[in-house]
Amino acid sequence: MIAATGIFIPLLLTIVIESLVLGTLISTRRAEVLFYSVLINTTTLPPATFLYHEFLHNLLFVEVLVIIAETVLIALLFRLPVRRSIAISVIANTVSATIGILIAGL
């Protein structure tokens, strides 16, 4: 309830960060990476934010759920093997979560 003042900026930031990570790790057109990154993060970030603030209050658990969801989406959209998708998802979310925490002034 408290944190619902806007998820657009965190979403935008996450899309930018994860697009850069995906673009580095996946050799495909940049526009495609950006488009898929927008879709993936728009699918996962808002429910994750809601889950974190309203129910779980456990960032690690929420991140694990996000990584699992994004692994599936990355594998399907980029047509990558599951193992590689997991690695990419873990790296992308670790980077975005770390930067998010740093920006939040922890």
Partner: protein, 212 residues
Amino acid sequence: MKWIRIIVIIVLLALVAPSTADILYPNNGSNNGTGNGEAVVAIQHYFVIENEKQYPGYIFGLYPLPHGGGDFWSFEFLHNCWNGGYHLAAPTISVMNRTRYYTLAQSKKDIRDESIIFSNYYVFGGEYAAKAENRASRTDVLTITTLNSTHLVVKNSRAFYTNLDGHTEEIPLNDPATKTTDGNPFTMYQYFLLPLLALGVIAAILIRRYKQ
């Protein structure tokens, strides 16, 4: 099967991990944050009271809970921690003449009893928040007294705030039917409609690809 087992183990491990707030704030510090109130302005609760003298960042809002038919009050305490500090707040909360004392910073986990639920949690964006939900009826008398003795009394859906000078004034409570929980009409849109839209696009891409 192997991957499913690994995923299940990771999920279970993450589930039993300590909460983020416990990791970030392992110690109950009593330092006063600078508290500029900026974080709370956008929240637009039914009303917001800012005690500027003793606890500049100590703000609390009160609004009717949307669930339960609007028959319950919910209130929450917000503490800015933009500079890494946060307040120790120990408001006295009296519901139906039953006085309970809570030190929010010590209630790392939810404290639940018959009338009040407290939960502390960290909010991305720099504000530390403690939320309390009062399960008493809206027709009950609810009194919130802060550390510096300002207090708020809610009775029969009317709210009265007494400031440090002893001056009491009624604070209008808005109709809960006209607002969302946090005064942000885009909340549900942000949380659910956007992801559903994105999922729809993903499904369309995959279906189109499958047909080809």
